[in-house]
Each structure stands twice: as C-alpha cells, then as structure tokens.
C-alpha cells in the first residue's frame, strides 16, 4: 500500500536501461531474476524514487506532468505505479535519511 509518509528508493543492484526512442525503459532485477519493460509513467516514478517521501514523489510527478495532470490524478498514478514497482522488486520502502 502506497503511503505518502513512507520513503521509496530503487532496490539494490538494479540495472536500468532506458530506451527513450521507444518511450520505454527496461529494468533487470538480478535477485529475481526478471526483465521488465516500464512505460513512461512507471519510468518517471522509478526515476523519482531516490529515497524521497511519497508525498514529495507525488508533488514531483505532478510538477513534471503539469498542467495536464492535477495533483489528485498524479496521486492516483503514482499510487498504482509504486505498488506495481514494489511487487516487482524494483523499488522498496527505505528509512528516511533526510
């Protein structure tokens, strides 16, 4: 369950291969091991998962996509993306080091 108070970061040893010419990003999770293809939305969320809190994640996502997306819409998309990325072992909750 996505929380705006929790902090999110990429998992260890992840390999990320952006393919901007096709609007996708490949992610290899060596621990599993699996290869995933992220769309631009999930790719942006992944890029923003640098240890910041969920609330800041939504703010940054909304800012990137403004004015097409409201903050509420951004919250909905980030919630879905983070849940999916967590299930795949691509991002995880981390302790707040800020």
């Amino acid at each position: 369950m996505f929380s705006q108070r929790a902090c999110y970061a990429k998992t260890r040893n992840l390999r990320v291969r952006p393919v901007p010419e096709m609007g996708i990003c490949f992610v290899f999770t060596p621990a599993t091991p699996k290869l995933y293809t992220l769309n631009t939305s999930a790719w942006l969320v992944l890029a923003l998962c640098d240890g910041r809190r969920g609330r800041a994640l939504v703010d940054a996502y909304a800012e990137e996509l403004a004015p097409q997306l409201s903050r509420d819409e951004a919250l909905g998309e980030v919630r879905l993306a983070v849940r999916d990325l967590e299930l795949k072992g691509i991002v995880a909750r981390v302790q707040d080091h800020g």
């Binding site: 390999r15 393919v19 290899f28 060596p30 091991p33």
Partner: protein, 344 residues
C-alpha cells in the same frame, strides 16, 4: 513505421558449434570437437564485460549445446547477475545439481529443445537413443530449481502429428510456455529438407488446430504473428561474427568482434542497417497490426527468394505459391558465401 533501437539492449551469443547429439534439424552442422576459431573463455568473458559496459540488459546464450563447453558454468557465473540471462539447451547434460547451480548463477529463463511428444520421435530427430528422457528430465530439474523453463519444438514432418500431445507434455513437466518454431533451411536441416519440410498449408493447419491446455503459453510465428525481428536483432556466432540474427548465419557477416567493436557493426555495416530499416516489397496487414513490423522473417524471405526485401513465404498471405517443401538449389551448394560487411 518500423520500431527502432538506437543501440541494442539485447543480444544472442552462440558460444559453441559443438554438441553431443546428431540432430537432423541442426542449423549449425555441429561437431564433437570445437573449431580453433571458436571464441576462447577469455574472449567471451571480455565480450560480456563489453556488453555490460555498453548498457546491454539481456543475453540469450545458445549453441550448439552450451553445456558441452567445459567453461560454461564460468560464463554463466560471469553474466548471470549482470544481464538477464536466457539459455537454450537440449538438456541432455543437465543434472539436478547443475540446475541448482544455474539458479544460483542467476539464470533467468531456460529454453529446452524437446523435439516430440514421445521418445521415438525425439530420438529419431536427435539421432541419439535415450535423449528424450534426458531432455524431459532436464525440464523437471530446472523447474524444481525454480528457473522459469520453456520447451521448444521445431515443427517438421516427423512431429507435426503430435503437437497437442507435446503441449500436454510441456504442461505436465512444469514448463511455463511451449514454443513451436519453424524449420529453417540451414545446416544439416537443409540437406534433409525433403524429409523434414511441410507445405505452408500443412503448417497453417497444424497451428490453427492447436488446443493448448489451460495455463500453458504457446509461442509461434505463423500468420498473423509473422514478425520481421531484424529491427532489434543482435547476434554473434561462436567465431565472433556479428550476424544480426542466428537464422541469418549462412547469409550475412557484418564484421568480427575480434577486429571491430560489436557496436561498430551495429552502427556502420550497411547490410545490417538496411535489414533493421525494414524496407520490404510487400507486407501482410494482419502480421503488421500484430507485430508492428513489415514483411515477416528476413531469413526465410531471403532463403526462398534470394532478395532481402522479398516477402516471407512462411506467412500464408505472402506465400505467392511458393512450395516450402522444395528448396532453391543455390541453398544446397557447399559452403555458401555469406554476404560481407558491405552487404555484397
């Protein structure tokens, strides 16, 4: 519009042309002892490092039989946690211990060649009695070790009547998917073509009548799924030749990685660029809608028509009356000269 990679994220590496079997359908004309031209262990490990440094994310390792190389575990250990690692094997050298080691190395998926639903068919095609049981056992070992495993079958006259039984077998062994592959006129297969090949209609009927069990994925590339994969194709032979796709092994050579960096062949070999551009004479709308590519497989198009932009006769809408049971005589010449780096 043809999809396009600025640089390839995935590659196929054939690490040997050696094998312990005598398959009728062998595309590599494999031998028991390696050629002195095969890439050494150090060369392969260095090439894997090159791939990682250049942002590749997946490697598909095949042969020959990869496990027939004594250094195969070392190769797997080197790439398993750096690249999504896929392996194609016939599995006859697999043990439970080896499967568990592959899992520890980080192998992500294994494709096991099983050429029929029964021992009689499979062993006839591999030329070695007892191999059906070994290949099936390999699937069980790999599944038990927790590795995603698929089974592959090259559809031909000997096994076409048992495809549904094959799908049931794959399901019972714990395979995730079964891949039904077309027969390519390469290696030993082309010299036994009249024994093995099916007409286009026979192939279409076999695919149309498949009844896969619930929960088993089926991969196949007949209409409307005949893709032109060249746009993303990157492959290197056991001798270091960059050839785009393993099914082009007898037709092209874009340069050797001992002499030029692999990505130089990707960026600069004219034939490689031309094939990736996907310019073809004719395309099937159904296959185009499904695959977003045009013209179907370039290997079989070139094999039967001798032109890189020809339609693929394995697609029923592009067949144009080509009898797939009869090979053009030029393919049966000894040592056909592959096109050079300039595409000449």
């Amino acid at each position: 519009m043809q999809p396009k990679f600025e640089s390839p994220p995935k590659i196929t590496l054939s690490i040997t042309n050696t094998c312990n079997l005598e398959c009728a359908h062998c595309y590599g004309d494999c031998t028991k002892t390696p050629s002195a031209r095969e890439l050494s262990t150090d060369e392969i490990l260095a090439f894997i490092d090159y791939l990682v440094a250049n942002d590749f994310i997946q490697i598909y390792i095949e042969g020959g039989e990869p496990q027939f190389r004594p250094d195969f575990d070392r190769i797997l250990a080197h790439c398993g946690r750096k690249l999504m690692t896929l392996v194609r094997t016939h599995g006859t050298l697999m043990t439970g211990r080896a499967a568990r080691a592959w899992q520890r190395f980080g192998v992500g998926r294994v494709y096991v060649d099983v050429m029929g639903a029964q021992a009689r068919t499979h062993d006839l095609l591999t030329g070695v009695p007892g191999t059906f049981e070994k290949s099936c056992t390999a699937v069980r070992h790999l599944v038990d070790a927790g590795i995603e495993t698929d089974m592959l079958i090259i559809m031909n006259r000997h096994n076409v009547g048992e495809l549904d039984a094959y799908l049931q077998l794959a399901k019972s062994l714990g395979a995730t998917r079964a891949g039904i592959l077309r027969l390519y006129p390469l290696g030993r297969a082309k010299h036994r073509w009249s024994e093995l090949a099916l007409s286009a209609q026979e192939q279409d009927d076999a695919i149309a009548n498949l009844e896969p069990p619930a929960g088993l994925g089926v991969m196949q590339s007949w209409h409307p799924k005949d893709r032109n994969c060249c746009w993303q194709a990157a492959a290197v032979t056991p001798f270091g030749d960059s050839i785009g796709c393993m099914y082009l092994r007898e037709y092209v050579n874009h340069g050797n990685i001992r002499e030029v960096p692999f990505l130089d062949t990707w960026h600069h070999a004219p034939l490689y660029q031309m094939l990736r551009a996907g310019k073809v004479e004719e395309s099937c709308n159904g296959c185009h809608v499904r695959s977003h590519t045009r013209g179907g497989c370039r290997s079989t198009a070139y094999a039967f028509h001798g032109r890189w932009d020809a339609p693929d006769p394995f697609c029923s809408t592009l067949n144009q009356g080509v009898d797939l049971r009869v090979l053009p005589t030029r393919l049966l010449r000894q040592d056909p000269q592959p096109a050079g780096p300039t595409g000449t």
